[in-house]
């Protein structure tokens, strides 16, 4: 996994040096080129995981940007409306993520989505307390976070 990543980065750097153009699009093009070369040459099932993970990462980032914009619009509307339609609550969210790294990434992502804010994580790393602006009921909130953020994130980094 890391092997392929380093090879890909090396191929990108070689491409950029040879073409002599250090702009961002050229880096992207070099990376895509290296990815295709690796895809054609690498053998073995274990090494194949890398090729599933990179497209997943791209899809996750795009999806996350979409969610963020959607939530941001909602918060903007709330602030500008004469009568605010807020229902704040602090909700206990049982974590699926286990390691420190996974929990850190998840709380970063939740905090960056407008409308939700991580208050604290329990000492035994079992639950997370999340402050939200739009509370309807507990189960739908937990389901929303789990399906839209946590599972997608764990798919990428596990």
């Amino acid at each position: 996994m890391t092997n392929q990543l380093f090879t890909n980065i090396m191929l990108t750097l070689i491409w950029v040096m040879l073409s002599g153009n250090t702009s961002i699009p050229n880096f992207g093009f070099g990376f895509a080129l290296g990815f295709v070369i690796l895809y054609l040459t690498v053998r073995g099932v274990d090494n194949r995981r890398y090729f599933y993970r990179v497209p997943r990462l791209v899809r996750f980032v795009l999806r996350y940007i979409y969610e963020m914009l959607k939530a941001n619009l909602q918060v903007t509307r709330t602030i500008l409306m004469r009568k605010m339609d807020v229902a704040p609550a602090i909700i206990k969210y049982p974590l699926e993520a286990k390691t420190d790294f996974e929990i850190t990434m998840l709380s970063n992502i939740i905090s960056l989505t407008p409308g939700t804010l991580v208050m604290d994580i329990s000492d035994d790393k079992k639950v997370m307390y999340i402050h939200t602006l739009y509370y309807k009921d507990k189960d739908s909130f937990i389901k929303y976070i789990r399906l839209n953020l946590e599972i997608k994130l764990l798919e990428v980094i596990r």
Binding site: T22, S23, I24, M68, N72, V75, T76, I79, L80, M84, V86, A87, P88, A89, I90, I91, K92, P94, E96, S107, N108, I110, S111, L112, T113, P114, G115, T116, L117, V118, M119, D120, I121, S122, D123, D124, K126, V127, Y129, H131, L133, Y135, K138, D139, I142, K143, R146, L147, I151
Partner: protein, 134 residues
């Protein structure tokens, strides 16, 4: 033609920051103010930096803008989380119309946070996870 793109990005970036400022004034309690400002400052300054990077279009400006955005994304949520936690420990009040506060009474006296999960609850959660997973 590209000028229009710069204008749009710049305008959206400053509007987002403006809305966050209005939000600080209008929101009724501390946590909601925090919730509104942390993300808006990230998104607003991110858009402005993106616009600057595209406008100047030289590598050193682009690289610096990318580094700043990266560090903003890494640090802003952590700062928000720490401020919120400190406020809750300092007993800042929630808004009177708040629907639910599951954090209440979960802190021990020495500021350790209990998860409050009994064995039975943990089992129920596992069952729910099994339901939700596609």
């Amino acid at each position: 033609m590209t000028d229009i793109l710069f204008i749009i990005l710049c305008t959206i970036g400053s509007l987002v920051t403006l809305v966050a400022a209005v939000g600080i004034l209008r929101m009724p309690d501390f946590y909601m103010r925090l919730s509104v400002t942390v993300k808006a400052s990230t998104i607003g300054s991110g858009l402005l930096l993106l616009c600057a990077a595209m406008y100047f279009n030289v590598p050193d400006v682009t690289n610096r803008a990318m580094a700043i955005v990266l560090f903003l994304i890494l640090t802003a949520p952590v700062a928000g989380h720490m401020i919120g936690r400190a406020a809750y420990m300092g007993k800042a009040k929630l808004w009177k119309d708040s629907k639910l506060d599951e954090l209440e009474g979960m802190y021990d006296e020495d500021h350790h946070l209990r998860s409050g999960q009994s064995k039975k609850e943990l089992q129920e959660n596992d069952e729910k996870k099994a339901d939700i997973q596609p």
